[in-house]
Structures are given as structure tokens and as C-alpha cells.
Point group: C2
Chain length 410, copies 2
């Protein structure tokens, strides 16, 4: 199954520079797809530190459990990602497949299995035949290069219509360091496909606990602010690897002032990757930014924003280019957070459609309709009761989403 | 806009008997629709007691606020329901429209405005011109009859494709009493339409506080167990009127043993009406019963059931007749409730597709596919960790849902 490239995809892929200490290779392991790459091996120099954030699902995949158990070690030498099979809901066989994959990768990378990190995306509930990685990962290791970023981003795709890459360059003290990231995700989980995965690599020297704190904070305002369908994958994985090869004074603490530019660059890069996921949402034709202001607190604002961004009725209205503020009121009301109906104001783009709990006296249907015709829609709500604010990103809900997720096996 | 009758609608409408103390009339008030009735007046004999349950939305409609304020009085003499305009998010004008409608109805019914109950469904955010009820409600009152139940159920429809009625007859002590109910609802709220409303009438003599307790309990296992799209209306209203004309010994307490058959009949009737709403869900082609067993508690089971029933990916899979248990695992996992992946078992119809956290060893694709082809799908999950159970009803998510809610104004 393949779908045309999202109309919201960037016109050009960014060019990612090499990162000292990182080499990449991809291959066709034949897990599920034919005629395309489906496995990525990243080799990491000795001394690479690692942090991760994972799905909150109570039914996580076997690779997620593997990574969680290995993280406290803080050291990584290899990353293996396969597409086509998520190795989720596969019971004991899933754990065996993970151990076998890590063993094969450890031999290829000349490291210990505990230093191998894994992620899988694709079919749920089907055993993953990890024996297919034998030989394949050896050849990958032999041919790994520092510049295979576009290939890496492609090998991890499932229902994605385009590869997702981002890069930043920044200084820690006097030393220039680089951050590269790749991601995939189109539905949070899909037919027999999809999930959200992201991997960030840097040559900065940062201690694993500091990396972990920075990544957790950055996730709050990036990947935790994006939704396509509100469905949380069993396999969501975000990993950050720091090779330390740039030679900066090692950052020991997340709040080290010298690391501020690095933290900011990391935050930006995570936001860029998260937005790319919403832009490539299954069936998406509109990229939507939901901004909430005037809520009781930031936390309350975030909940209201997610209630709006996950509402099927708001998302179908946007697909229909209908400035339907009644549905926005509904979604604010159902969030269960403090709100005063008679203080609400709502904007589509720059057009205020509602104020003081009723239609804006100066409401202009033509202006509102023009705002809805754009590819990128900003939907703002001011609750008028406090200082809380939040911003999340989503896409519209189209017939193509139902087609991709409903008609696939029929 | 009109859509073909849901394939899940009952083949025949039930015939509702007269209820002593209740007379009904409908009319065309011209609120929004042309060539169809859009207002219902129910006249209730003196002494009628009333209870109600309303939306949990923090942005409720003006009629919901009116009813909430009048409920403590416990007395009702008239109900006015209009379709076409929800009188929600209409600010001060909304409150004025409600007061004006109650005044007009009170004159027509020769009662006090405080004894008039109101519900509105339709467009959100447009002022309701209540002056249109003048004259109309007078004529309704003059022509009200005890047998206009099908007309009543039709007058309150919006995107509904069929009227929804149910009836029960039961004894309190030696006295036979009747319960009649009508409902509407297709999306929880829709383009410029829809919401969930239900009205139940009985000739039993039951004190308002007892009615309230019975209704609250009955709602938990009926209307709170049904979802079409997870979007909560600003206007959801369920009212129960008891005229007392049957002449039974007045029920003073909800736990009166003599009222047990009545309570059971009420519960059944509410479930029947709630199921009718899911069967007429916008675009629905499949009626889905989600059963959760083996959860930590009933409350936990209910949350998991709603997570499954609201998942776009589960609902699109059902639309595609795909026995996609991986998505069920996802939806169980994202509920955030206690679960042990490796104890999960999942059934579609009678076919166990997964057991002990993996595909069922005896999985038969043909049998699973056959189960998915049916109009009515039972989806069962056993979590295997406790005694908690719950059952909720929903429908599939089809392209027609997106069409109804997205293409309407374009």
C-alpha cells in the first residue's frame, strides 16, 4: 500500500551533516515489505551516552521493555530499528526475538548486547522472525557510513508518505556541536503499521542523566503536543545518543548554563520532528496549530488543547473548511477543565469568530471561510480566566484516514 | 441534508400506549428546517414529578442551565423541545430566549414558568428566535393528544435517520404502570445539528428524589455506556416525568422493594434507548458491543471499555471488517488502567483471536473474518487480573461519518 506524498510535506529534505562517532547503514531484511529497506543499523563510538522516553501504554512492545531495562546503564554502541513488524503483543516469543536481535547486532558492532538499543514498528501481534537479521546486520556494520541520513529516515517508514529529518548546529562553550534527528509516524498506530519513533544523535559530550532530563523536558513541548488520532502506540520510542566526540567540556547537569543553547536547539529539533509527524498524519490535508490562552494553568490549557485537537467533530469540520466554533466550544466544555462559557473567545486564523460566549458581533463569514481554505490553520481559544497557555499540533480528519485505516485489509 | 435510514435501525417502531396524565403535540415552528415538525410540547397533569440528568460539559446550553435550576422544585407541567437550534453558546440572548419560551409555554399550559422544562438541539452559536413559539405552542396545547408518540419522536430529530421509541409495562404492588421513552442522537454533537436528548414518561407515582436516584443509577449503565464519537454535547438532557395517575402507593424511596420491578423496567428502557442512539450513529454500518472482563474493578473496566469504543483505529478497523486485535491491545494499553499484557485475551464474536498476550495458537483467520462481516459485532477483552467488568455500545467509524460532519457546509 502506498499513498501520495502529504501535501503538507516540506518541499525539500534538509541536508544532515555527519556526526563524529555515528555511522549508519540500511538494508532489506525482508521482514514484511518487498523492494524497500526495512532495517537501520546505527553504530556508535565507545563512550556514547544515551537517554530515552517511551510510550505510556500499559501494553508496551518487547523492544520498549528491552530499552527501558538497558537505559540505566547509560551507554550505547548500536541502534537497530526495523519496520514492518512491531514485535508487540508477541508474548515470550517477542522477548526471545529482542534478545536474538541484540545478540546479532552486538556481534556485528563488537559490543555487549546490553549496549544495543532496539525499536520496531509495523504489524502488531505477529511473531518477528529475528533470524532474518543474521548476516544482514554484519553487512550493514561493514558498510556503515557517516552520511546515510536520508536512507536511515526512509528505512524506518511505514504509512509515512515522506522521510522526516531535522538538524541543528550550536555551541557548548567554544565548541560547535551538531544534533541530527530522524522520525517516523503517521497514525499513532495503524492497520498493521505505524507508530511514532524518533532518534536524535549528537556529538556533544553530555552525561546520560543530564541527557535524560533535557529529553524529558523537551518531550513535553514537542512529541507530547502532537496528536493525529489520539491513539497511543504500544511502541512509541524517542532515543537521544551523545557520542561526545565534539570534545566540549562534558555537560554533567541539565541546568548547566553552558548547555542552554544546546537544550534550546534540542527543544527546537524535537518540535520540528513532532510537527513533521502531524504534517504527515494519515490522510491529512490541513496542518492545525491549536493555541489555548487564559486557562487556569498551563496544565489545564494543555488538557483543553488536546481535547480540541482530538475531537473528531472539530477535525472533520476543519477537513470540510467549516469555521465551526460551536464544536470548539463543545471540545472545550468536554475537557472537564475550569472554563466560563461566557468569557470564551475563539479565532480561526486571525478572524475572531466568537467573543464573550457568543458569536462575535463583527463576525464575517467570508473572512472565516477564507481562513479555513488555507493548508495551515491556527485555531486559538482564550478562556479569559487565568494565565495558563498551551500549544499543540494536529491535522484534519479526512475520508482518506478512514480509507487508510479501514479499507486496508478489505 | 438527509441520509438513508441506518441499516441498524429496528425494522418496526414499537407502539407506545397512552400514559394517563401526558398529552403530546408537535408543530412546524420554522426554527431552521422547512417542511418538517421541529417543536414538541408535552402537557403534564398537575402533580407530575420530575428528575433529570444533564451533560457534564463545562459549557452547557441555556436550556440545560434552565432545567438544572428548576429541578429542585420537583414539579413539572410542560416540556418543550425544539430541533434546529441548540440555543447553546448564545450568551445573554440564550437566557432571554429560554425565559421567553418558558413564558409562552406556561401560558399555553396554564402553569407557572418554573414548571416548564426545556431542551433544544441543533445549531450552536446562533441566537434562537423564541418569538416563533408564540401562537404555535397555544395551538399545540389545544390539539394535544395522548397517542402522538411517533410524531413526538420525529419532531426532536436532527441528523437522526430514524425516530427512537421504547416502552415497558410493569407492576408496582398490584398496580400496572407504564413507561414510555423517546430519544434522539446520532453524533454527540454535529455540524450544525445533533446532541443526545431523551425523555421518559410514566404514570407511576414516584417522589421526585426517588425518581432522581433511580435515573442517576440507570444512566450509569445506559447513556453513560454509549459513545458514537467521544464528543460530549453542550446540550445532553435526560428527563423523567412521573404523573402519578396510575394510582399506586407513592414510591418515596429509590430502594423501596415494591419499586424494584419499576427500577428494572426503567433501566431496561434506558438501555434500549441508548442502544438505539449507537445504532443510528452518524455513518454507522456496524453496532458494536464492547465487553470488558477480568479488570481490577468495574470502574477500571468501564474506562478501558470506553478507550476501546472511542478509538478511531479500532472503529475504522471494524468498518473495514478487519479483526485487528493489535488495535484493541493498543486501546487497552492507552487507557492507563491496570493491565498485564501477557494475560490479555481478546474475542471478536465467539472467535478468540488472542490469548496470554499473543495471537491465539488456534487462530482461524476465516472464522474471525466471518465474525467481522456481521452487522452486530461483539468485542470482548478479558484482562485476567480481577473481577471488574463493564459493557458499552458504539458503532464503527466510516467515511460517511466524515462526510456527514465534514462535507456538510462545503
Amino acid at each position: 500500500m502506498s499513498h501520495p506524498v502529504s501535501p503538507l510535506a516540506p518541499a525539500h529534505l534538509p541536508i544532515l551533516p555527519a556526526i563524529p562517532g555515528v555511522r549508519l547503514a540500511t538494508a532489506e531484511a525482508g521482514i514484511r515489505y518487498k523492494g524497500r529497506t526495512d532495517v537501520l543499523l546505527a553504530l556508535l563510538d565507545p563512550g556514547t551516552e544515551v537517554a530515552g522516553v517511551f510510550t505510556r501504554s500499559r501494553c508496551p512492545s518487547a523492544p520498549v521493555e528491552w530499552c527501558r531495562e538497558r537505559l540505566p546503564g547509560g551507554q550505547a554502541r548500536a541502534l537497530v530499528v526495523n519496520s514492518g513488524n512491531a514485535n508487540a503483543f508477541t508474548g515470550l516469543k517477542g522477548r526471545e526475538a529482542v534478545a536474538l536481535t541484540a545478540g546479532i547486532a552486538a556481534e556485528a558492532a563488537a559490543c555487549r548486547p546490553e549496549e544495543v538499543f532496539l525499536a520496531s514498528t509495523g504489524v502488531i501481534g505477529e511473531p518477528l522472525d529475528a533470524r532474518k537479521f543474521a548476516g544482514v546486520l554484519d553487512r550493514c556494520a561493514a558498510g556503515a557510513t557517516p552520511d546515510a541520513w536520508p536512507d536511515a529516515a526512509r528505512a524506518i517508514m511505514t504509512t509515512d508518505t515522506c522521510p522526516k529529518l531535522a538538524t541543528r548546529r550550536v555551541r557548548i562553550g567554544d565548541v560547535e556541536v551538531t544534533l541530527n534527528g530522524i522520525a517516523k509516524g503517521a497514525g499513532m498506530i495503524a492497520p498493521d503499521m505505524a507508530t511514532m519513533l524518533a532518534f536524535v544523535f549528537t556529538d556533544a559530550a553530555v552525561a546520560a542523566p543530564a541527557l535524560g532530563a533535557m529529553l524529558a523536558r523537551g518531550t513535553e513541548t514537542s512529541f507530547n503536543c502532537v496528536t493525529v488520532d489520539g491513539d497511543t502506540s504500544t511502541s512509541d520510542t524517542l532515543l537521544l545518543f551523545a557520542t561526545g566526540r565534539a570534545g566540549n567540556v562534558r555537560v554533567e547537569r541539565a541546568d548547566d548554563p553552558a548547555a542552554e543553547p544546546f537544550r534550546r536547539a534540542l527543544d527546537e529539533l524535537l518540535v520540528e520532528l513532532a510537527q513533521l509527524v502531524a504534517r504527515d498524519g494519515e490522510g491529512a490535508r490541513k496542518f492545525v496549530t491549536v493555541e489555548i490562552e487564559g486557562a487556569e494553568s498551563d496544565r489545564s490549557a494543555h488538557r483543553i488543547a488536546m481535547s480540541v485537537a482530538n475531537s473528531p467533530l472539530v477535525k472533520t469540520a476543519i477537513a470540510g473548511e467549516d469555521a465551526n466554533w460551536g464544536r470548539v466550544v463543545m471540545a472545550v466544555g468536554k475537557a472537564g477543565e475550569p472554563a466560563d462559557r461566557d468569557r470564551l473567545a475563539i479565532w480561526f486564523g486571525d478572524v475572531r469568530v466568537a467573543a464573550e460566549g457568543a458569536r462575535d458581533p463583527g463576525y464575517d463569514e467570508a473572512a472565516a471561510t477564507a481562513a479555513m481554505k488555507k493548508d495551515e490553520i491556527r485555531l486559538k481559544v482564550d478562556l479569559g480566566i487565568g494565565p495558563g497557555r498551551a500549544r499543540v499540533w494536529t491535522c484534519d480528519l479526512t475520508k482518506a484516514y478512514v480509507e487508510i485505516n479501514g479499507d486496508y485489509r478489505s
